[in-house]
Amino acid sequence: MAPFEFAFFRNGLAVATIAGGLCGLVGVYVVLRGMSYIGHGLSHAIFGGFAASALLGVNYFLGAGVWGFASALMINRITRRRVIGSDAAIGVITTASFALGLALFAVFGNNGAGSFDAALFGSILGVGAEDVVAITLVAVFAVAVIFLRYRALLFTTFDPEVAAVSGVNLARIDALLMLVLAASILATMTVLGVTLVAATLVIPATVARMLTDSFSRMLILASIIGATSGAVGMNLSYHLDVQSGPTIVLVGATAFGIVFAFTGRQGQRRAARLDAHPEPVAVLPPPPRDTERSAV
């Protein structure tokens, strides 16, 4: 029955599977918005919050969550407005936050926050029942947001300027997506680690994009691919005695390689523009006031 007789493994498997599906789902928006670098940076930024909350004795999910959400909003704002080069700005914000986390750990120790290596690369040993509850709640929240705000999220991803003109509140939808993204990364970090979370956001969505031209099917496929990678990777992690993060990512990367080879030019063409950056769109002010003038 090994490894299923161990509670830590069952918990880890549940978290890895749900986290994989969750990151696959959210990753669709990340890659289609040209935000892959943001996903990478945000996981590093959250590490700073992780260290700070450990130092201050604040609940990890609360402290790192607020830190991550604030970082996500800042990154999104910079990307939309292109105040300075977005890649450079993201690099500065997120690596500074990551460096702060490293410095806090070096000076004050981990203060009971868990293994430093586990935070960076993930570990199933640190996964408890509370992590299963946390990832489940985040997954339910993410699915609810995507289900209820499907049209607005799709519209702002495809054509933000026209979405705003059509009455979609761009700033609110972006903030909502950033909240889902930050929560997903936060809940996933325990199993995958800071350095590998971004891969689970990008790989399943990219593989799904190579397989379909339909947005709704892409959401479903990316979730399935992510969840499968998580489950298979977690089992391999146990049997190969390798950290969970790398094995999950390697399973996803293998899926990418297989699909890349078998979908040929069609798959490559579909995925060719996934690194494109979105057009800069200013966060919109309120629309011009309505008046009773007779002219249009």
């Binding site: 003109v165 769109v281 007779s294």
Partner: protein, 252 residues
């Protein structure tokens, strides 16, 4: 509609004290050189750009549709024509999938534009004219009273340009006010009922035969352009564009 509107990017004025009123049912074109503020003017009307001074006002309850330049869109994005148009549905229905009524409305709009057979196609598979029609369909789904279009014939061939122009004329005939930007003085602007010549300020406005004059064009484009008459319509000629070479002198 626009009263003394000034817009700037990074301290540089793009629109300067622009006054402009668009009456109901008007079909108007905005022409001007690159950087003259044509797109900014449209974006000021939609509310996407906030003026640094002046006011943009709209009739209460006015519904506005906006059609961006097709070049600004990622046409490899994974959506079909039907899904693309459905993005603009305005209902508060929380479910991801459309209602029967919304599907029927999309079908009606696509049929009106002659592209109902394309509803299941991926947007990448469309021609330039079809892409433009999809964007117009998406804008029409909100039943606008004013349609703003940014360079609707940019990069399309002559036949498609004719089709788009006639389609817009039909929509205008149904009562829709249209404002479009164009750089095509002879192919588009000269055929419209009303023109605005813009170079940060409004240089001239009125019917093409009144606006397309040597003096107005020179102030608009900072270049000498000649205007000929052909079949009662103005034809703009750029005399400096001619290289004045005889065939025996070879070609570039």
């Amino acid at each position: 509609m626009l009263d003394g509107v000034t817009c700037s990017y990074g301290g540089q004025r793009v629109l300067d004290d622009v006054d402009l009123t668009i009456p109901p049912r008007q079909f108007s074109g905005i022409v001007g050189p690159s950087g003259s503020g044509r797109t900014t003017l449209l974006r000021a009307v939609t509310g996407a750009v906030r003026p640094v001074s002046g006011t943009v006002s709209r009739r209460a309850g006015l519904r506005v549709g906006y059609v961006p330049q097709v070049e600004t869109v990622d046409w490899s994005f994974p959506v079909t024509v039907g899904e693309c148009v459905l993005m603009a549905r305005r209902s508060e229905r929380p479910l991801p999938w459309p209602s029967r009524g919304e599907k029927a409305e999309v079908s009606r709009v696509l049929g009106r534009l002659g592209i109902d057979a394309l509803a299941g196609r991926h947007i990448r598979e469309l021609s330039g004219g079809q892409q433009q029609r999809v964007f117009i369909a998406r804008a029409l789904l909100g039943r606008p009273q004013l349609l703003l279009m940014d360079e609707p014939t940019s990069g399309v061939d002559v036949k498609t340009r004719h089709e788009v122009l006639h389609l817009l004329d039909d929509l205008n005939g149904d009562g829709l006010a249209i404002v479009l930007t164009t750089h095509d003085l002879n192919g588009i602007a000269a055929h419209l009922p009303h023109l605005v010549c813009l170079n940060r300020r409004v240089i001239g406005a009125g019917p093409p035969r009144e606006v397309l004059t040597t003096e107005v064009l020179e102030r608009t484009y900072d270049a000498r352009l000649e205007v000929l008459q052909h079949g009662g319509m103005p034809v703009v000629v750029d005399p400096l564009a001619s290289l004045n070479r005889s065939p025996s002198q070879g070609r570039l």
